[in-house]
Subunit: 368 residues, 2 copies
């Protein structure tokens, strides 16, 4: 029967994998399309003559560098690039003008010193975690533009001329990116974060049931099957950095589908944190499952029934919570689930003194 | 007394933080210096006339984009950039020549189609995890160079001319980066990975002792202090992605200090994995510490002594293992530690039936 219950999971995973693979193909084709669109600049002669060879390059560069897998990441990178270019260009322009005014050897000294100071300061900012997470790319573009403009040593009117054209090209590249990213089969980081949070609940529920099944299996059957339920648990445990970057991208994303403009993304991170703690607890049962337990056979059988009740009610609670996030409706936790869990807990502490299960139950109480 | 034992840890952490901050400053100044060095290209007139304005730009761009915090990251990015430029330039050149041969409207079609195909294929490669982890940047530069060269539609001799100059500039920027990154206060990813692995052992040992202290404290004192030992444990638990990127950078790094050319970095990842599992086990004790346990007061006191023996021997084992990695000598595990742990385990199972501590002990057996 347990073999049977695994089949839908496997087919679900395969479908999921295919879906992910499908998205990869879609993204690849979208990048290709964006490149073709931007190369039209070259092919349509009048436009090409307007912008010139050296500047049209910037549009291609923008498309290649900015286009990311998730729509939010593309949007964030594009805005960063724009801000960095404008700030860096402005400051570089000032420096160049000042250097021209001084002239002679002082010119090189002023430019060099300002590059040392601004380049160093911006690099230090890039290493500060709070800035790094959202504005890393913008700071890099700031350093790049500042250096290029300051060093070229052009007069302010010339710089404004070139700068306007380049900025136009960058904006053009950005618009092409946005168009392909947001309007042709968009891949939203917010959807991904939402779905992965839901699937975490499911994975943990499956793990708990798998653990119990493993634990109460008769010793004779023990060698027949490996412990399979921990890989999902570990995946949940290691999801922190991925969740954080998804939440960060999701913040850049505009209103779409079921997500409003100020969707509480930081709450997903909090839920993830709790789920990771629960995953740690479940993972710690692994050692328990692997330890020799022949002499405990009778004890084990005596607690089997209440434990299975606890396990299945925990699993169904987790699935219920996941479902309520999926449907975005308030969970009936306080009215229905909490009393149920409490009664189960009391029942459990009657049968067994401080054992691993008390722990498990407890941690789940926290997760709610 | 426990207050006293915390002081050196705090001062150690502060020192560590300052050390990290110090490294940030060093890196920032190094970036500034590299920028000044590359801007000398502009200031020293003969060189500037040689390379021309449009091409000298590429040297600055290379420095800004390639210079990373760790020496290995800089080296890896630089090599990626070189490979991507050569490959993309070559293929772009072929495409452009082919398109010229055909001419007319066919030219645009050939360039457009090849951009769609190669851009899409390279993007798909970037999304494949095994390529992404090492060659993501190279693939991006490949797309960029390919698009720029293919679209510019220049004849092969002209492209080789421009390409040679640009490649020279990129190499120049790369050399400046390497010089400042490797020879002026280098920041090695390998050192960081080595040190962080060692400090993980220490953090877990401290956590185990903290847990035991907390557990056996009298209930009257309970409210006086918060549970502090879990933050380190969580940091260990969430170290996976950082470890992986460090190991990836470390692989690029040349022979230096105590690390040979083929230092087994993947073993650090394996050790990290085991330590994370142990951290998960320790973290699962948190729920146990937070649960009400008034009625167990007497039971607790009866197992206090053996548990403390176990705890301190686990902690000292962990510290011993960390020390042996630090000094890079073979640990005397099989002769000294394993028998000690085994005897402790037997003693423990005599006092207490399957409780949390059996679990803890077990997981540590795995970690060795």
């Amino acid at each position: 029967k347990s073999q049977f219950s695994l089949l839908p999971i496997i087919s679900f995973l395969r479908e999921k994998k295919n879906k992910h693979d499908m998205r990869k193909w879609i993204h690849s084709i979208k990048v290709g399309v964006a490149l073709v669109l931007v190369s039209l600049l070259y092919f349509l002669d009048p436009l090409y003559k307007e912008v010139g060879d050296g500047n049209a390059m910037w549009a291609i560069m923008t498309v290649v560098v900015i286009f990311e897998f998730y729509a939010g990441a593309t949007l964030g990178k594009g805005l960063n690039r724009g801000m960095g270019t404008i700030l860096g260009g402005g400051l570089g322009c000032l420096t160049a003008t000042l250097a021209q005014e001084v002239g002679g050897i002082g010119k090189s000294i002023i430019v060099g010193t300002s590059m040392l100071i601004f380049g160093g300061a911006a690099t230090y900012c890039r290493l500060t975690p709070s800035i790094k997470i959202r504005y890393d790319y913008g700071a890099m573009i700031f350093i790049l533009t500042f250096s290029l403009v300051a060093v070229s040593g052009l007069r302010i009117d010339k710089v404004i001329d070139i700068g306007r054209e380049r900025l136009l090209m960058i904006v053009l590249g950005f618009v092409i990116c946005l168009f392909t990213s947001l309007f042709i089969f968009p891949i939203w980081a917010s959807d991904e974060l939402h779905d992965s949070t839901i699937s975490k609940f499911d994975a943990l529920a499956t793990s708990i049931q798998g653990c119990l099944e493993e634990y109460f299996r008769l010793d004779s059957e023990k060698e027949s099957k490996p412990i399979a339920s921990f890989s999902k648990c570990k995946a949940v445990l290691n999801s922190k950095s991925k969740d954080e970057s998804l939440a960060n991208f999701a913040r850049w994303e505009p209103w779409h589908g079921k997500f409003g403009l100020s969707h509480p993304w930081e709450k997903y991170l909090k839920i993830g944190e709790e789920l990771r703690e629960l995953a740690a607890t479940i993972l710690s049962l692994k050692a328990c499952l692997e330890s020799p337990r022949v002499r405990l056979q009778t004890l084990r059988q005596s607690i089997k029934e209440p434990c299975e009740v606890v396990g299945s009610s925990l699993a169904s609670t987790l699935r219920e919570l996941g479902e309520s996030i999926k449907k975005m409706r308030k969970c009936q936790a306080e009215i229905l689930i909490v009393p149920k869990l409490k009664s189960v807990r009391i029942e459990l502490s009657n049968v067994t003194s401080p054992s691993k299960l008390a722990q498990l139950e407890n941690a789940d109480g926290l997760a709610i």
